[in-house]
Symmetry: C2
Subunit: 445 residues, 2 copies
Amino acid sequence: MRKEFWQEDFEVLGKNDLKKLQVERLNATIEHAARSPYYKTLFQQKNIHKGDIKDIAQIRDLPFTTKQDLRENFPYGFLTLPKKEIIRLHSSSGTTGNPTVIFHNRHDLNSWANLMARSLFCAGIRDTDVFQNICGYGLFTGGLGFQYGIETLGALSIPAGAGNSLRQIKLMQDYGTTAAHAIPSYLGRLYEVFQSAGLDPKKDTKLKTLVIGAEPHTDEQRKRIEEMFGVRAFNSFGLSEMNGPGVAFECEYQNGLHIWEDAYVVEIVNPDTLEPVPDGEYGELVMTTLDRQSMPLIRYRTRDITRIIPGKCECGRTHRRIDRITGRSDDMFIIKGCNVFPMQIEGVLMKIPEVGSDYLITLVTLNGTDEMVVEVEVKKEWFKGDIRRLDNLTKMITAQIRDEVLAKPIVKLVEPGYIPKSEGKAVRVVDNRVNGVTKENISCS
Amino acid sequence: MRKEFWQEDFEVLGKNDLKKLQVERLNATIEHAARSPYYKTLFQQKNIHKGDIKDIAQIRDLPFTTKQDLRENFPYGFLTLPKKEIIRLHSSSGTTGNPTVIFHNRHDLNSWANLMARSLFCAGIRDTDVFQNICGYGLFTGGLGFQYGIETLGALSIPAGAGNSLRQIKLMQDYGTTAAHAIPSYLGRLYEVFQSAGLDPKKDTKLKTLVIGAEPHTDEQRKRIEEMFGVRAFNSFGLSEMNGPGVAFECEYQNGLHIWEDAYVVEIVNPDTLEPVPDGEYGELVMTTLDRQSMPLIRYRTRDITRIIPGKCECGRTHRRIDRITGRSDDMFIIKGCNVFPMQIEGVLMKIPEVGSDYLITLVTLNGTDEMVVEVEVKKEWFKGDIRRLDNLTKMITAQIRDEVLAKPIVKLVEPGYIPKSEGKAVRVVDNRVNGVTKENISCS
Ligand SMILES: [Zn+2]
Ligand SMILES: [Zn+2]
């Protein structure tokens, strides 16, 4: 079968052509950015001008931008255009301190809608699909982001909004919904409502595709969702500072998310040193907008931890793939000189069938040496019988964690219920080191 | 000052040119409609063809369409195009029986967005405004309807969504909101939140325009809102079967709502006889879409009661004006041969300063004659002093109601609290007639 693309001209660009386009667009972005009060001052201080960039690697000469910068220059410090030309804003709730706000002119909204349509097409959605957008609208970017993308693609959109599961099911049945977007945790609840209504989504709907995002989740969760609904589920990644959804998306091969490099320069850096890490290694995702006029952001530190998946994708798209988000850079700790993200360890543990649902990482100083103790709940049936089975399991987990994070842990198997449950977000890391990082009770989602 | 229009070519069309355009578009609409299963059969039965309409008055030869027809042919009976070409649906909640659903292709959504932009422009909104859309998104047409209209107009949209008053106020202050859309009852609550926060919307915001709709309300409510917020408030009318908002809108003269006659054929009919009523008389609004491809509706009975306001508007727009909606045709009763809508009587009463907040209409048979008894609560201070003042008030109210509805009522003044309060929607009409209409406890909003 011939491979299909939403924009073949952009999606299969050769490496050099893509870099050339990026250089061109980055210089234009610098020119736009220089019109905002924030970058104007910064560029003057650092002697940065449009045309400076001859090779995309030179992006490393540009300064980083952080969420803190956005907040301190709220609301108009990053705005490059007169308010008259802006036609939409999306704003965070700003429960603590200033909110962050992103402004869009017509070009920006069209560009976003196009990236979103490209993303949906990449996941196999076509204009023949009936697409139910199960997600909050309004200032949250998921609602309008998907809405404009579905319409641009030409599928039939059902702007269902969030919640009201019985109504969601009725909509699916009334209009023959074939594809839907929802957060992974909601899909579990929706499935229960299907069951209590005596319905099976596999038989009683025409669903074939789910798009899941906005919440970190594991590949195991994805597979469970695929089984429950009898669909293929595709991972969607976005953040409001980079528009919202439509930043990176899985293709039919479901082996990482193509991140649209004609619209963003993508870097992965060590969150401590801010130096680039090689492809394949985890670090903080840093992004630069290449096609936004109202509010370009340069080397924005997303705080999201991921890695570039090395190699080419079979789908033919040349834009590199990022791995699913494994946490926030704020959650990272350093042990034995290695940067470790709790989600890396969780990823290892959740693939082991004997492991139960809880674990706890404790950093301690033993005889002057910092150690990482990983307590792992093991399913009840494993505490019966031969003790050597437990020994073997301990060795296996130790080896797998060391392979993943490069630091050797002290693994302790414990019975289910041994690890204290916390209210709300689970506490995954406790730091009791004598001279360790001062962060205590680091939690990861 | 030169008068400004969003689309001068359409908005100030002379009467004959407008009729010519309507004839052309109505024939095209018949051609589109004939592709839907419902109208195909109906047109064959009634021998209706495109090109039949030579004069717009011939629309009376076409059959009516009712909500019942929509429900019975749910979901695809009115669809004229393959589902592949449809890019959005809006659907009612369908808590009782089948929902109603309206399908849109790209042309339909663009046409709707344009009418909405024209409506906002007509109410004085410009691309320099910051427009906060305080309204539910999703399947409810107010959210996306306004959103696309604001963006098409080029104002800065804040897709605020419904509820969370403190956040609404913060958004207004953070971004200098100059215009907003909300339902009238919410604006009363919002004002209270302003007050409890020690804020005055007149001084502490830049609001100058409010658009109010989706809920029937009186001109007195509008004036109260204008005073509370220090703004001008404009009435917006729409219904999902005719897209949603953007059907009819007030202009700067605030003397009725221009209904866009290049997009709709507007008729006012007697809901009993279905015969047209003269301009100025109340009746049921009947509408035919002229610019919708996916799902044209012919002579759709909206059930909304209004009238054409005779005469020309000073703004220069030639599209006729409808009066604010005064109720639903289902609320109408007939007394002494006159069609009466409870809201007509409410309209008279609410303009009289001595009248309190409640009234009750009871239809009775006295000595073989049907009579309309109107009990009216009068403010406490009026029950003191000279009884002749009450007699004069009774006579005055009687005369004013008769002038409005043409049937002479029996008016009884009562003290505040005399009329029993009902839970939920107020009961305004009780029918105790011997041979009267069988409807009992008719309520109007
Ligand atoms: Zn791929
Ligand atoms: Zn006017």
